[in-house]
Symmetry: D4
Subunit: 81 residues, 8 copies
């Protein structure tokens, strides 16, 4: 299992479209629309590095509404229910 945090900048005015699209991907465990240096933060969980690559390159970076992504692989984590 591989987890990653994506920091996403969207094309101006398309924040909600990107948010809605990400929400529907089963590998996206959480997605936040935020105020600040980035527009959207997504937590992604995949089976392995190959599936992560597919999600990031085929489903996120290929979107015309996504201006840039910063993918950070998770090294250690703690989540509360």
């Amino acid at each position: 299992m591989v987890k990653a945090v994506l920091l996403i900048n969207t094309e101006m005015g398309t924040d909600e479209k990107v948010f809605e699209k990400l929400k529907e991907l089963p590998q996206v465990k959480a997605v936040y629309m935020v105020y600040g240096l980035y527009d959207i933060v997504a937590v992604i969980e995949t089976d392995d590095m190959d599936q992560l690559r597919e999600i990031v390159y085929k489903h996120v970076r290929s979107s015309p509404y996504v201006r840039s992504t910063l993918t950070m692989i998770v090294v250690n984590e703690s989540e509360k229910k």
Copy 2:
């Protein structure tokens, strides 16, 4: 209820100390140690803006191991269980 995503840079070599400290704060819903531009990502949930301010300024920014923080208030969110 107010939610925020914190992007944290730690002093070199103290990543784990900061990770462990954040994990214990009840308002920290998730914390990730990551590879990339930032060292730690934390999702924080508080009752209101005043409590968020206390967590960020009293518990995170005042730590000698935290070099810088970037706080992004959540506008919209979707989390899967």
Copy 3:
């Protein structure tokens, strides 16, 4: 009441159009065209987080002349008359 400072980069050559548009929004309390890393700084005051979100997403980020925005929520402030 919620206050925020917006740091805005405009599309090249449209600085004045964005400046004029922001000036007319009643929630924009001050707007500065500046030399430096950002092109325009705006101080915005709204009734609540929902209204701020409307201003930022509907009136600023949706403009074709706005290239990027960085929204920073004000925690504490002092203004002189």
Copy 4:
């Protein structure tokens, strides 16, 4: 008359000290403690470039609590009372 917007990062845990100090300078027309990439935003108004230089270098940058400053000279402005 010269106006400038300063974006300030403070040493961790000293945000309030810097905020209080800036508040007392007569040339500081507004000062905001913010969440985000910067910690404090100050709007400064001086008689000329020499006085601005004195404020920025002698009163802000020489403070041990100020980690970095980004000074942006105002080209055009609009303020509401």
Copy 5:
């Protein structure tokens, strides 16, 4: 007299066009095409802030080949012949 250093990023593949155009402006005292975070560095000298503003906004930022500019007003200088 006002002096400023401009750090310019050009649209990919137009570096030389921007360099040649800047070279011909009489207020551009020096212009360097560089490897690194920026593509072109220009040193500009004008009679006053209004003329600087005209050069930066009318002649540089309005160019379709200029992607972004960062204008830094010179506070103190030393040049050797």
Copy 6:
């Protein structure tokens, strides 16, 4: 002989096209598609500064799929076989 490391950001969804193109240039000694702040890292070795300039400006920066490049000249190096 001159060596340089290029940090490249590609237009969204064109990472592989840029990777494949760089791979075929004989002066590109190594090329990495990466997760993070940059999309592609290339190590380039040329006979002199003029040839480096040709590679960077004619072959990389002129590509419609390359959004930005950051060229860093190598001062000192160690490579293992």
Copy 7:
């Protein structure tokens, strides 16, 4: 096998010490001292993510001469002999 590119900023004046230390680590396949936004670029190859983590956190980030690191996991690569 996991590969990563590290972009490193060193404490001023310690570039060579960090370069020499990295050179000696068997997992560091190439290391470059560069001019630019970063000071040192290292290409690291480890058996798995756990070993990478050990190298990055125990051997690089814990060094008193390393000011910051940006670790980018390699997704795809091509190296010429």
Copy 8:
């Protein structure tokens, strides 16, 4: 002959010390103290890459007042007398 533009950030409050020191180096052809993202801009001219390296690493980066430097090698230039 090699030319480079250095963008320098100084330790808070030491801008003038660094400016004065750079002014005295014969290889520093121009030095500007500026408002903005950087504190000092220096134009350096040396006989070759080795001498540039000596200036940058021995005379600038080793100074306790210099916080960071960004060295950009000049590819093409035009200077007016």
